[in-house]
């Protein structure tokens, strides 16, 4: 029986090559998307799932409530490391570590210096108690007992000592920042499973006493929280997170200090489950180079996959019910030969299964290709090797089963219901199934596709708007050059500025801190006191010399610039001025604002500009000079306006590099154009846009394939009618319109339904942006016209060919 079914299924697939191809392609697109997205989801959801009793592990974090808003900090105040052991109950294990950022490290026995080495933590044996590593040499009990000890992963050991066997690495010395030494006291295997704990080098916590930041790492003061101070706990079997949390709450109340009361800040300690770590957006994880695992994007991706699968399924249902007439005779015969309804449904499910299986097989190959093509978008660890897992096999089988039922059940039901006497006469269907379901499905398909098209247009428009709107300062032909941060002195930078000024291709130059718009901004609390009130306001601080505002074309509305580069005088922006309660720029000039408990003079007001990106609004900001120059300079960036582009920037850039290399030999030359920095602000939007482009392209493709299939089907049935009409003198356009009309109606209906849906969705999306592009009517018009034109073009591909055919031919075939 099965053989018989497969045979007939295969012959049917083969005899209807075009329809089979449409079905397989439509399903394969959805399946490929589902496979790739499935791999991504699997990858992202299997981080740190291998730790022993991981479900009982938590990170202790700190939540702050301040008048300026809430802040989340993934770190804890250092005394907490002791408190969780000594004061709290119900905690089985805990591990404290400090994320150690240093400027260089090297093996004492080698000349090779590693600049800005990453993945180094200062920690204790308890870390290895909580997180299980395989030990190649040394032991977790003793390896980090004493100061100046370090444990390496195999990978890191090979980096430091490429020529030594691992056994010989034990006892070697490593130097940090040239003045701290540690002896290798253990070697562990890197985690072979996915983990966010990507550290390679574990220095004993005691060593921290020799570092500059010893106060921060091992302090007894409850007042300070550094997000590099990380604390993990495993709660005991009989305890619950809620019990620990309430103890933590009590602890935070116990340690309220005077500053917190004064500034009306509140700090609470909290627990973050280990399972939430990977998708964390608030507290921060350790690998900054990895694109954030964004649960929302993953969920959108899952939806896209589901939509694409549905669209493919719809094609399948539509084409198969449309073709039912052709199958009717076979069904009638089978019924008279004794087939039951169930047997017929099984037969059709079997055919669907075969097609789905073919689609799935091609999808496995397609998704391997897709993994390559979408390299930029897909997390680095996701590759074809993940496919070799029971999990993936389960996904493939599961999807094949679901799709088979989704696509095959309804057509099977329709077909199996035919009355044999009528089926044999070939007269049925028109009365049994007017194709209304087909219409509903086609409309739904085009609604989905149309919403995608509209969304793509609007998202692109918003990106264009953000990248091209006036930020309030000069962004073209401006570049900035960053200098090595280890150099704390300003002297070399002044020389650098002087030498660049002399270059003919540079028209303006300034020495300062970060550019007006950047990701990293320092902030400080500003307090303005009058007799009866006190305004406390968070202020962003920019540093720049007297030319800074000129380089960036920012106007001064009132007052003046600071007298010189090191005097503590401040220019405030309009928003800041208003935040302190002033309406006229002239009024705030000459007033004092308290910063770090010192009164500081406001000497001028500058025009507002957009500091961050158009996603956020303008925030209060002050500009000052290099106020802390004796300790360390804030003037670490050279800002410059390049001359006429026509005269060639590359020459100028090369000259600047030469100058730089002369002053800072051996250092990296990091020159950035401001417009590039601004474009980078919108990286996430760009990613969304490219995702949407693909989703749109594929959903339009599937829907149009389905449309083509239906048009071919109906046109074929109307061959004779077309022949007669042509003989009667119908023009090509008339014929084409006649054939496309019914389908165009569906596309138009879908468009009408899509407009409010798209409007609503996009309106919500735009709410996240302070500066929004308009939801112009032409976006909706354009997307509708585009879709209609495309649908018409695709249909005409078939209808025109039919209409062009010699009428005698089609009439003779009867």
């Amino acid at each position: 029986m099965i053989r018989n079914y497969i045979k007939i299924a295969w012959r049917n697939i083969w005899n209807n090559k075009l329809f089979s191809a449409i079905n397989i392609i439509s399903l394969a697109i959805g399946l490929s998307a589902a496979f790739v997205i499935g791999l991504m989801v699997y990858y992202e959801f299997t981080f740190d799932t291998f730790h022993q009793n991981g479900d009982r592990m938590y990170r202790v974090v700190s939540d702050f409530e301040t008048p300026q808003g809430d802040m989340k900090n993934g770190g804890v105040t250092p005394p907490m490391r002791l408190a969780v052991r000594e004061e709290l109950t119900g905690i089985e294990q805990s591990a404290y570590f400090f994320n150690w950022w240093i400027s260089e490290s090297k093996a004492a026995s080698s000349e090779q210096i590693f600049k800005d080495p990453e993945k180094i933590i200062l920690t204790q044996a308890s870390y290895f108690g909580l997180f299980q590593y395989k030990w190649i040499a040394g032991s977790k009990e003793t390896a980090l007992q004493k100061p100046n000890q370090v444990v390496l992963t195999r990978k890191r050991a090979l980096e430091y000592f490429p020529n030594l066997p691992l056994t010989a690495v034990m006892g070697q010395t490593i130097e940090y920042n040239a003045d701290i030494q540690a002896v290798v006291s253990g070697i562990v295997e890197d985690f072979d499973k996915r983990s966010d704990f990507f550290f390679d080098e574990f220095v004993s916590l005691e060593t921290a006493k020799q570092t500059e930041s010893k106060d921060q790492i091992l302090s007894d003061s409850w007042g300070m929280t550094n997000n590099a101070s990380q604390l993990y706990i495993k709660i005991s079997e009989h305890s619950t997170a809620a019990q620990i949390k309430s103890q933590l709450l009590a602890l935070s109340e116990q340690h309220v200090d005077a500053d917190m009361i004064k500034y009306n800040n509140k700090r609470t300690f909290n627990l973050q489950p280990l399972a939430d770590l990977h998708f964390d957006q608030e507290y921060g994880v350790y690998d900054y180079s990895r694109p954030e695992a964004n649960k929302n994007i993953l969920i959108s991706l899952i939806f896209i996959a589901i939509f694409l699968l549905l669209l493919g399924s719809i094609n399948f249902i539509n084409l198969n019910t449309a073709q039912a007439t052709q199958r009717a005779k076979e069904i009638g015969i089978r019924k008279t030969l004794g087939s039951s309804k169930i047997q017929l449904i099984v037969q059709f499910l079997g055919e669907t299964f075969l097609l789905t299986l073919l689609a799935a097989l091609s999808s496995v190959i397609l998704s391997i290709l897709a993994l390559k093509v979408f390299d930029d978008f897909i997390p680095n660890g996701v590759d074809a090797t993940l496919m070799v897992s029971p999990w993936f096999a389960g996904l493939v089988l599961g999807l094949i089963t679901i799709l088979t039922f989704l696509s095959g059940f309804y057509p099977g039901l329709v077909l199996s219901r035919f009355k044999p006497s009528r089926a044999l006469k070939g007269e049925l269907i028109r009365s049994e199934n007017k194709g209304s379901l087909r219409k509903v499905l086609t409309v739904s398909q085009f609604v989905i596709a149309q919403v995608f098209v509209t969304a793509t247009l609007l998202v692109s428009k918003q990106i264009y708007f953000m990248m091209h709107s006036d930020l309030g300062f000069r962004t073209d032909a401006v570049a900035y050059l960053q200098t090595p941060w280890e150099d704390q002195k300003v002297d070399k930078r002044l020389v650098l500025e002087q030498e660049i000024t002399n270059l003919p291709g540079v028209s303006r130059i300034s020495l300062g801190g970060m550019p007006p718009a950047s990701h990293n901004m320092a902030t400080r609390m500003g307090i303005y006191k009058t007799e009866n009130q006190e305004v406390i306001q968070e202020l962003q601080v920019l540093n720049g010399d007297g030319d800074y505002l000129d380089v960036y074309n920012i106007d001064i509305l009132a007052g003046r610039k600071p007298l010189n580069d090191t005097i503590e005088e401040y220019i405030i922006n309009e928003t800041g001025m208003q935040a302190f309660g002033f309406h006229n720029p002239e009024d705030i000039v000459g007033k004092y604002i308290e910063l770090n408990s010192n009164k500081r003079l406001i000497v001028g007001v500058m025009k507002d500009f957009k500091q961050r990106s158009l996603k956020t609004g303008i925030v209060p900001l002050v500009l000052t000079g290099d106020t802390g120059r004796e300790r360390r300079t804030n003037f670490r960036t050279v800002h410059l306006v390049l001359g006429d582009k026509a005269s060639g920037w590359s020459g100028t850039l090369a000259q600047i590099e030469q100058v730089y290399k002369k002053i800072y030999p051996g250092e990296d030359f990091k020159m950035t154009f401001l417009d590039q920095t601004i474009a980078n602000f919108y990286e996430q939007e760009q990613r969304i846009a490219s995702l949407l482009n693909w989703a749109t392209g594929l959903s339009v493709l599937i829907s149009c394939l389905g449309l083509l299939g239906l048009v071919i089907h109906t046109t074929e049935r109307r061959n004779k009618e077309i022949g007669i009409r042509k003989v009667l003198g119908a023009s090509l356009v008339q014929l084409n319109l006649l054939l496309c009309r019914d389908f165009l109606k569906l596309v138009l209906l879908a468009y009408l339904i899509s407009v409010p849906l798209a409007w609503w969705g996009l309106h919500n999306w735009l709410q996240d942006y302070t500066y929004k592009t308009e939801m112009s009517w032409w976006i909706f018009a354009l997307s509708g016209i585009g879709m209609v034109v495309l649908a018409l073009a695709i249909m005409s591909f078939k209808t025109l060919r039919t209409a062009l055919r010699n009428p005698v031919e089609s009439l003779r075939t009867e």
Binding site: I333, K335, L424
Partner: protein, 225 residues
Amino acid sequence: MLLQLNHIYKWVKQGGKRVFLLNDISLDVEEGEFISIMGPSGSGKSTLLNVIGMLDEFQEGEYMFLDESVHTLKEKHRSKLYKEYIGFVFQAYHLIDELTVYENIETPLLYKNIKSSERKALVADMLDRFNIVGKKDLFPAQLSGGQQQLVGIARALIAKPKLILADEPTGNLNSKQGEEIMELFKELNQEGVTIIQATHSESNAAYGNRIIHLLDGSKQHQASN
């Protein structure tokens, strides 16, 4: 008694009026009979055969098949009856285009869940009997009309039905082919198979041992013998 029709009426509504396709048909069929239903085109022959074959419903009257009332039969029982008792032969042959001659003949056995080895033997017998062994791997489109009808009959017979319903089995064949088919039916009938055929050819009708005349859905009593 194999089957019994009592005052069967079948009608369709057209413009609010009943148009009778079968009008008060009563008919008793004993096992081993060979009945010819005659009448001009449009007289209701196919309709009657379809009702007898339970492919079509009727509005009024009673139909007993092997002493069971067909009206109350569920779809499942009906397909069981097809499998066990009834074989159909159609004017338009109605072979499954996607299956070979061999597979077409085999299909009813599949629905009867007969073992593969037994199936092979039965199909081989049939191919032999109808002299179409050489054609077994061809598709219906590759056969002449007469050959297709032979396959159709072979398929109807393979499940050893008690009753064969043949709707103008020779309608699309030339007279020589037609005669061969009729001889075959006669042979089968002599082996004990009950046959009801619809035809509008006098000579074909004469093969039967009883002839029923139909006109506009009614039995014509004066002509019966």
